[in-house]
Symmetry: C2
Subunit: 188 residues, 2 copies
DNA sequence: TATTTATTTAACCAGCGGTCAATAAAATGT
DNA sequence: ACATTTTATTGACCGCTGGTTAAATAAATA
Protein backbone atom coordinates (compact mmCIF):
# COMPACT_ATOMS: atom_id res chain seq x y z
CA UNK A 1 0.00 0.00 0.00
CA UNK A 2 1.00 3.60 -0.33
CA UNK A 3 -1.13 6.68 -0.73
CA UNK A 4 -4.78 6.66 0.26
CA UNK A 5 -6.80 9.08 -1.84
CA UNK A 6 -9.66 9.26 0.65
CA UNK A 7 -7.44 11.25 3.00
CA UNK A 8 -6.41 14.79 2.19
CA UNK A 9 -2.84 15.14 1.06
CA UNK A 10 -0.42 15.81 3.81
CA UNK A 11 0.92 19.34 3.85
CA UNK A 12 3.60 20.97 5.96
CA UNK A 13 0.89 23.19 7.39
CA UNK A 14 -1.19 20.24 8.52
CA UNK A 15 1.81 18.72 10.20
CA UNK A 16 2.73 21.95 11.87
CA UNK A 17 -0.81 22.49 13.15
CA UNK A 18 -0.84 19.13 14.87
CA UNK A 19 2.75 19.33 16.04
CA UNK A 20 2.15 22.77 17.54
CA UNK A 21 -0.65 21.44 19.71
CA UNK A 22 1.30 18.43 20.86
CA UNK A 23 4.52 20.26 21.59
CA UNK A 24 2.64 22.77 23.64
CA UNK A 25 0.71 20.21 25.59
CA UNK A 26 3.62 17.89 26.28
CA UNK A 27 6.91 19.60 25.57
CA UNK A 28 9.50 18.88 22.95
CA UNK A 29 11.02 15.71 24.40
CA UNK A 30 7.70 14.19 25.27
CA UNK A 31 6.32 14.40 21.76
CA UNK A 32 7.44 11.83 19.23
CA UNK A 33 7.22 11.92 15.49
CA UNK A 34 5.09 8.79 15.80
CA UNK A 35 2.58 10.59 18.00
CA UNK A 36 2.34 13.44 15.53
CA UNK A 37 1.81 10.97 12.71
CA UNK A 38 -0.83 9.09 14.64
CA UNK A 39 -2.74 12.28 15.33
CA UNK A 40 -2.58 13.08 11.63
CA UNK A 41 -3.59 9.57 10.63
CA UNK A 42 -0.48 9.03 8.57
CA UNK A 43 2.72 7.08 8.98
CA UNK A 44 5.67 8.60 10.76
CA UNK A 45 7.82 8.05 7.73
CA UNK A 46 5.72 10.55 5.80
CA UNK A 47 6.72 13.32 8.15
CA UNK A 48 10.31 12.89 7.09
CA UNK A 49 9.30 13.66 3.53
CA UNK A 50 8.22 17.14 4.61
CA UNK A 51 10.68 17.81 7.41
CA UNK A 52 14.22 16.57 7.67
CA UNK A 53 14.02 15.92 11.39
CA UNK A 54 11.97 16.46 14.48
CA UNK A 55 14.15 19.43 15.38
CA UNK A 56 13.60 21.06 12.00
CA UNK A 57 9.85 20.70 12.34
CA UNK A 58 10.00 22.25 15.75
CA UNK A 59 12.11 25.12 14.62
CA UNK A 60 9.71 25.92 11.80
CA UNK A 61 7.03 26.46 14.42
CA UNK A 62 9.06 28.64 16.66
CA UNK A 63 10.01 31.03 13.89
CA UNK A 64 6.36 31.75 13.11
CA UNK A 65 5.63 32.77 16.64
CA UNK A 66 8.34 35.34 16.99
CA UNK A 67 7.23 37.08 13.84
CA UNK A 68 3.68 37.20 15.14
CA UNK A 69 4.61 38.73 18.47
CA UNK A 70 6.72 41.39 16.83
CA UNK A 71 3.81 42.31 14.59
CA UNK A 72 1.47 42.69 17.52
CA UNK A 73 3.92 44.93 19.34
CA UNK A 74 4.24 47.06 16.24
CA UNK A 75 0.47 47.41 16.04
CA UNK A 76 0.39 48.99 19.45
CA UNK A 77 3.34 51.27 18.76
CA UNK A 78 1.71 52.65 15.64
CA UNK A 79 -1.48 53.63 17.45
CA UNK A 80 -2.32 57.31 17.80
CA UNK A 81 -2.64 57.56 21.57
CA UNK A 82 -0.81 59.12 24.51
CA UNK A 83 2.57 57.73 25.49
CA UNK A 84 1.52 56.57 28.93
CA UNK A 85 -1.43 54.72 27.52
CA UNK A 86 0.74 53.28 24.79
CA UNK A 87 3.09 52.07 27.46
CA UNK A 88 0.27 50.34 29.30
CA UNK A 89 -0.96 48.82 26.09
CA UNK A 90 2.45 47.44 25.26
CA UNK A 91 2.47 45.65 28.55
CA UNK A 92 -1.11 44.54 28.26
CA UNK A 93 -0.40 43.51 24.69
CA UNK A 94 2.34 41.21 25.87
CA UNK A 95 -0.02 39.50 28.30
CA UNK A 96 -2.70 39.39 25.65
CA UNK A 97 -0.36 37.74 23.17
CA UNK A 98 0.69 35.20 25.76
CA UNK A 99 -2.81 34.20 26.72
CA UNK A 100 -4.35 34.36 23.28
CA UNK A 101 -1.55 32.28 21.79
CA UNK A 102 -0.81 30.08 24.71
CA UNK A 103 0.67 27.31 22.67
CA UNK A 104 2.98 29.73 20.94
CA UNK A 105 4.02 31.42 24.12
CA UNK A 106 5.01 28.25 25.90
CA UNK A 107 7.30 27.20 23.12
CA UNK A 108 8.86 30.63 22.76
CA UNK A 109 9.55 31.39 26.37
CA UNK A 110 8.91 28.41 28.57
CA UNK A 111 10.24 25.19 27.12
CA UNK A 112 13.49 24.48 28.91
CA UNK A 113 14.80 21.68 26.78
CA UNK A 114 18.46 22.07 25.89
CA UNK A 115 18.20 20.91 22.33
CA UNK A 116 15.34 23.31 21.77
CA UNK A 117 17.22 26.22 23.26
CA UNK A 118 19.96 25.89 20.73
CA UNK A 119 17.42 26.43 18.02
CA UNK A 120 15.60 29.32 19.61
CA UNK A 121 18.81 31.01 20.51
CA UNK A 122 18.75 34.72 21.01
CA UNK A 123 15.24 35.33 19.74
CA UNK A 124 13.59 35.85 23.13
CA UNK A 125 16.25 38.40 23.85
CA UNK A 126 15.48 40.22 20.62
CA UNK A 127 11.86 40.44 21.65
CA UNK A 128 12.92 41.75 25.00
CA UNK A 129 15.13 44.38 23.44
CA UNK A 130 12.36 45.65 21.24
CA UNK A 131 10.07 45.73 24.21
CA UNK A 132 12.63 47.44 26.43
CA UNK A 133 13.32 50.03 23.80
CA UNK A 134 9.65 50.85 23.45
CA UNK A 135 9.19 51.20 27.18
CA UNK A 136 12.27 53.34 27.54
CA UNK A 137 11.17 55.74 24.85
CA UNK A 138 7.53 55.84 25.86
CA UNK A 139 8.42 56.69 29.46
CA UNK A 140 10.46 59.65 28.24
CA UNK A 141 13.54 57.82 29.48
CA UNK A 142 12.23 57.86 33.03
CA UNK A 143 12.23 54.08 33.27
CA UNK A 144 15.57 52.54 34.09
CA UNK A 145 16.72 49.46 32.23
CA UNK A 146 16.77 47.38 35.39
CA UNK A 147 13.20 48.30 36.10
CA UNK A 148 12.16 47.46 32.59
CA UNK A 149 13.67 44.04 33.08
CA UNK A 150 11.69 43.61 36.29
CA UNK A 151 8.55 44.61 34.46
CA UNK A 152 9.20 42.18 31.65
CA UNK A 153 9.80 39.32 34.06
CA UNK A 154 6.70 40.23 35.99
CA UNK A 155 4.58 40.19 32.87
CA UNK A 156 6.05 36.83 32.04
CA UNK A 157 5.08 35.69 35.50
CA UNK A 158 1.51 36.73 34.91
CA UNK A 159 1.26 34.94 31.62
CA UNK A 160 2.97 31.79 32.77
CA UNK A 161 0.81 31.55 35.84
CA UNK A 162 -2.46 31.78 33.98
CA UNK A 163 -1.42 29.59 31.08
CA UNK A 164 -3.70 26.60 30.82
CA UNK A 165 -5.71 27.81 33.78
CA UNK A 166 -7.66 30.12 31.59
CA UNK A 167 -9.23 30.01 28.16
CA UNK A 168 -8.32 33.42 26.83
CA UNK A 169 -7.08 36.86 27.73
CA UNK A 170 -10.60 38.12 28.22
CA UNK A 171 -11.07 35.78 31.19
CA UNK A 172 -8.52 37.65 33.24
CA UNK A 173 -8.46 41.07 31.62
CA UNK A 174 -9.23 42.81 34.88
CA UNK A 175 -6.45 41.03 36.72
CA UNK A 176 -4.11 41.86 33.86
CA UNK A 177 -4.99 45.54 33.98
CA UNK A 178 -4.43 45.60 37.71
CA UNK A 179 -1.08 43.86 37.31
CA UNK A 180 0.08 46.37 34.72
CA UNK A 181 -0.99 49.31 36.85
CA UNK A 182 0.71 47.73 39.84
CA UNK A 183 3.97 47.43 37.94
CA UNK A 184 3.84 51.05 36.83
CA UNK A 185 2.83 52.40 40.22
CA UNK A 186 6.28 53.13 41.53
CA UNK A 187 7.94 54.27 38.36
CA UNK A 188 5.80 56.60 36.25
CA UNK B 1 25.60 -13.68 42.63
CA UNK B 2 23.52 -11.41 44.76
CA UNK B 3 24.36 -9.22 47.72
CA UNK B 4 27.82 -7.84 48.30
CA UNK B 5 28.51 -7.47 52.02
CA UNK B 6 31.33 -4.97 51.54
CA UNK B 7 28.86 -2.29 50.52
CA UNK B 8 26.47 -0.67 52.97
CA UNK B 9 22.90 -1.78 52.73
CA UNK B 10 20.75 0.26 50.42
CA UNK B 11 18.21 2.47 52.18
CA UNK B 12 15.39 4.63 50.85
CA UNK B 13 17.27 7.63 52.15
CA UNK B 14 20.39 6.75 50.18
CA UNK B 15 18.33 6.37 47.06
CA UNK B 16 16.52 9.62 47.61
CA UNK B 17 19.76 11.49 48.25
CA UNK B 18 21.23 10.38 44.98
CA UNK B 19 17.98 10.74 43.08
CA UNK B 20 17.49 14.24 44.40
CA UNK B 21 20.88 15.30 43.08
CA UNK B 22 20.28 13.80 39.69
CA UNK B 23 16.75 15.12 39.33
CA UNK B 24 17.95 18.56 40.31
CA UNK B 25 20.81 18.47 37.88
CA UNK B 26 18.98 16.94 34.94
CA UNK B 27 15.24 17.07 35.50
CA UNK B 28 12.73 14.27 35.86
CA UNK B 29 12.58 13.00 32.32
CA UNK B 30 16.32 13.11 31.81
CA UNK B 31 17.10 10.87 34.74
CA UNK B 32 16.67 7.12 34.47
CA UNK B 33 16.44 4.53 37.19
CA UNK B 34 19.54 2.98 35.69
CA UNK B 35 21.47 6.22 36.18
CA UNK B 36 20.40 6.45 39.79
CA UNK B 37 21.46 2.86 40.36
CA UNK B 38 24.79 3.40 38.69
CA UNK B 39 25.49 6.40 40.89
CA UNK B 40 24.63 4.31 43.93
CA UNK B 41 26.74 1.43 42.74
CA UNK B 42 23.84 -0.96 42.82
CA UNK B 43 21.65 -2.59 40.24
CA UNK B 44 18.63 -0.75 38.92
CA UNK B 45 16.40 -3.61 39.94
CA UNK B 46 17.22 -2.99 43.58
CA UNK B 47 15.53 0.39 43.46
CA UNK B 48 12.22 -1.29 42.84
CA UNK B 49 12.51 -3.08 46.14
CA UNK B 50 12.37 0.29 47.90
CA UNK B 51 10.16 2.28 45.55
CA UNK B 52 7.33 0.98 43.45
CA UNK B 53 8.20 3.16 40.47
CA UNK B 54 10.24 6.07 39.29
CA UNK B 55 7.23 8.33 39.78
CA UNK B 56 6.77 7.24 43.38
CA UNK B 57 10.41 7.94 44.11
CA UNK B 58 10.11 11.35 42.58
CA UNK B 59 6.92 12.29 44.41
CA UNK B 60 8.53 11.29 47.68
CA UNK B 61 11.06 14.01 46.92
CA UNK B 62 8.51 16.59 45.84
CA UNK B 63 6.64 16.22 49.12
CA UNK B 64 9.83 17.00 50.98
CA UNK B 65 10.20 20.16 49.01
CA UNK B 66 6.86 21.62 50.00
CA UNK B 67 7.87 21.06 53.58
CA UNK B 68 11.25 22.61 52.90
CA UNK B 69 9.76 25.72 51.34
CA UNK B 70 7.46 26.19 54.28
CA UNK B 71 10.40 25.80 56.65
CA UNK B 72 12.44 28.35 54.79
CA UNK B 73 9.58 30.81 54.96
CA UNK B 74 9.28 30.15 58.67
CA UNK B 75 12.98 30.71 59.16
CA UNK B 76 12.66 34.17 57.75
CA UNK B 77 9.55 34.96 59.75
CA UNK B 78 11.26 34.01 62.99
CA UNK B 79 14.23 36.25 62.42
CA UNK B 80 14.72 39.20 64.71
CA UNK B 81 14.80 41.94 62.13
CA UNK B 82 12.61 44.82 61.04
CA UNK B 83 9.33 44.08 59.34
CA UNK B 84 10.28 45.73 56.08
CA UNK B 85 13.46 43.73 55.85
CA UNK B 86 11.60 40.58 56.79
CA UNK B 87 9.20 41.31 54.00
CA UNK B 88 12.05 41.64 51.52
CA UNK B 89 13.61 38.46 52.75
CA UNK B 90 10.38 36.53 52.35
CA UNK B 91 10.30 37.53 48.74
CA UNK B 92 13.98 36.90 48.21
CA UNK B 93 13.61 33.58 49.99
CA UNK B 94 10.99 32.50 47.52
CA UNK B 95 13.27 33.25 44.59
CA UNK B 96 16.17 31.59 46.33
CA UNK B 97 14.16 28.46 46.93
CA UNK B 98 13.02 28.34 43.33
CA UNK B 99 16.48 28.67 41.86
CA UNK B 100 18.25 26.40 44.29
CA UNK B 101 15.70 23.63 43.75
CA UNK B 102 14.90 24.16 40.13
CA UNK B 103 13.52 20.88 38.97
CA UNK B 104 11.38 20.61 42.05
CA UNK B 105 10.09 24.12 41.61
CA UNK B 106 9.02 23.15 38.14
CA UNK B 107 7.08 20.21 39.43
CA UNK B 108 5.64 22.13 42.35
CA UNK B 109 4.45 25.18 40.47
CA UNK B 110 4.84 24.84 36.75
CA UNK B 111 3.90 21.41 35.50
CA UNK B 112 0.46 21.30 33.96
CA UNK B 113 0.42 17.56 33.58
CA UNK B 114 -2.77 16.05 34.95
CA UNK B 115 -1.18 13.03 36.61
CA UNK B 116 1.26 15.22 38.46
CA UNK B 117 -1.34 17.79 39.40
CA UNK B 118 -3.50 15.20 41.11
CA UNK B 119 -0.55 14.23 43.24
CA UNK B 120 0.37 17.76 44.13
CA UNK B 121 -3.19 18.85 44.74
CA UNK B 122 -3.86 22.16 46.44
CA UNK B 123 -0.40 22.50 47.92
CA UNK B 124 0.74 25.43 45.75
CA UNK B 125 -2.28 27.40 46.92
CA UNK B 126 -1.43 26.66 50.53
CA UNK B 127 2.04 28.03 49.95
CA UNK B 128 0.56 31.14 48.41
CA UNK B 129 -1.81 31.65 51.31
CA UNK B 130 0.97 31.41 53.83
CA UNK B 131 3.00 33.80 51.77
CA UNK B 132 0.15 36.25 51.32
CA UNK B 133 -0.60 36.19 55.00
CA UNK B 134 2.98 36.95 55.89
CA UNK B 135 3.15 39.86 53.48
CA UNK B 136 -0.15 41.25 54.67
CA UNK B 137 0.93 41.19 58.30
CA UNK B 138 4.46 42.38 57.71
CA UNK B 139 3.27 45.37 55.73
CA UNK B 140 1.04 46.40 58.64
CA UNK B 141 -1.92 45.65 56.41
CA UNK B 142 -0.84 48.31 53.99
CA UNK B 143 -0.50 45.82 51.15
CA UNK B 144 -3.74 45.01 49.41
CA UNK B 145 -4.52 41.42 48.49
CA UNK B 146 -4.54 42.25 44.80
CA UNK B 147 -1.09 43.73 45.06
CA UNK B 148 0.19 40.73 46.97
CA UNK B 149 -1.07 38.57 44.17
CA UNK B 150 0.78 40.72 41.66
CA UNK B 151 3.92 40.41 43.74
CA UNK B 152 3.63 36.66 43.97
CA UNK B 153 3.12 36.33 40.25
CA UNK B 154 6.06 38.62 39.63
CA UNK B 155 8.33 36.56 41.83
CA UNK B 156 7.16 33.47 40.03
CA UNK B 157 8.00 35.24 36.80
CA UNK B 158 11.51 35.86 37.99
CA UNK B 159 12.08 32.29 39.02
CA UNK B 160 10.52 30.78 35.96
CA UNK B 161 12.50 33.03 33.69
CA UNK B 162 15.85 32.11 35.17
CA UNK B 163 15.07 28.42 35.56
CA UNK B 164 17.61 26.42 33.60
CA UNK B 165 19.29 29.59 32.44
CA UNK B 166 21.27 29.76 35.59
CA UNK B 167 23.06 27.36 37.87
CA UNK B 168 22.03 28.71 41.25
CA UNK B 169 20.50 31.62 43.08
CA UNK B 170 23.90 33.16 43.67
CA UNK B 171 24.34 33.71 39.95
CA UNK B 172 21.55 36.26 39.87
CA UNK B 173 21.36 37.44 43.45
CA UNK B 174 21.81 41.07 42.47
CA UNK B 175 19.06 40.91 39.90
CA UNK B 176 16.83 39.23 42.46
CA UNK B 177 17.43 41.91 45.03
CA UNK B 178 16.65 44.58 42.49
CA UNK B 179 13.48 42.81 41.44
CA UNK B 180 12.25 42.61 45.01
CA UNK B 181 12.98 46.25 45.65
CA UNK B 182 11.25 47.16 42.43
CA UNK B 183 8.13 45.30 43.43
CA UNK B 184 8.00 47.03 46.78
CA UNK B 185 8.74 50.47 45.40
CA UNK B 186 5.20 51.61 44.87
CA UNK B 187 3.57 50.00 47.85
CA UNK B 188 5.58 50.32 51.04
C1' DT C 1 19.07 -25.28 59.53
C1' DA C 2 15.08 -22.75 57.75
C1' DT C 3 13.14 -18.52 56.79
C1' DT C 4 12.95 -13.88 55.66
C1' DT C 5 14.98 -9.94 53.56
C1' DA C 6 17.71 -7.58 50.23
C1' DT C 7 19.93 -7.70 45.93
C1' DT C 8 21.52 -9.04 41.25
C1' DT C 9 20.89 -10.44 36.73
C1' DA C 10 18.71 -11.03 32.62
C1' DA C 11 15.09 -10.59 30.06
C1' DC C 12 10.73 -8.34 28.39
C1' DC C 13 8.45 -4.80 26.30
C1' DA C 14 7.31 -0.41 24.59
C1' DG C 15 8.78 3.44 22.59
C1' DC C 16 12.09 6.44 20.35
C1' DG C 17 14.54 8.97 15.96
C1' DG C 18 15.77 7.96 11.74
C1' DT C 19 16.37 5.27 7.06
C1' DC C 20 14.88 3.12 3.03
C1' DA C 21 12.99 0.13 -0.63
C1' DA C 22 8.59 -0.61 -2.38
C1' DT C 23 4.64 1.23 -4.24
C1' DA C 24 0.40 3.82 -5.35
C1' DA C 25 -1.46 8.21 -7.02
C1' DA C 26 -0.98 12.29 -9.62
C1' DA C 27 1.09 14.93 -13.10
C1' DT C 28 3.08 15.09 -17.39
C1' DG C 29 4.32 14.03 -22.00
C1' DT C 30 3.03 11.97 -26.38
C1' DA D 1 -5.83 7.15 -24.29
C1' DC D 2 -1.73 5.42 -22.81
C1' DA D 3 3.09 5.43 -21.03
C1' DT D 4 6.34 7.60 -18.29
C1' DT D 5 7.98 10.22 -14.68
C1' DT D 6 7.53 12.54 -10.42
C1' DT D 7 5.64 12.90 -5.97
C1' DA D 8 3.90 11.28 -1.72
C1' DT D 9 3.30 7.62 1.41
C1' DT D 10 3.88 3.26 3.65
C1' DG D 11 5.64 -0.05 6.85
C1' DA D 12 9.48 -2.87 7.95
C1' DC D 13 13.75 -2.29 10.00
C1' DC D 14 18.01 -0.65 12.77
C1' DG D 15 20.15 0.51 17.01
C1' DC D 16 19.08 2.31 21.21
C1' DT D 17 17.05 3.89 25.82
C1' DG D 18 14.45 2.89 29.78
C1' DG D 19 10.70 1.23 33.04
C1' DT D 20 9.42 -2.83 35.05
C1' DT D 21 9.36 -7.69 36.52
C1' DA D 22 10.67 -12.49 37.75
C1' DA D 23 13.94 -15.95 39.00
C1' DA D 24 17.95 -16.81 41.36
C1' DT D 25 20.77 -16.16 45.24
C1' DA D 26 23.41 -14.22 49.06
C1' DA D 27 23.16 -12.31 53.84
C1' DA D 28 20.91 -11.75 58.12
C1' DT D 29 18.06 -13.63 61.46
C1' DA D 30 15.67 -16.83 64.36
Amino acid sequence: MARDASKPVLTPKMIMDVARDLFVKNGYQQVSMRQIAKELGCSHGALYYHFQSKAELFFALVKEYFVLLEQELNNVLEKDIENLEKLEQCMLGYIKFGLNHQSHYEIMFMLKDDEVRNFINEQPMKVYEKFANALYTLSNKKLQLKDIWSIFISLHGFVSHYLSHVVSYEDIENAAIHHVKFLLKGVC
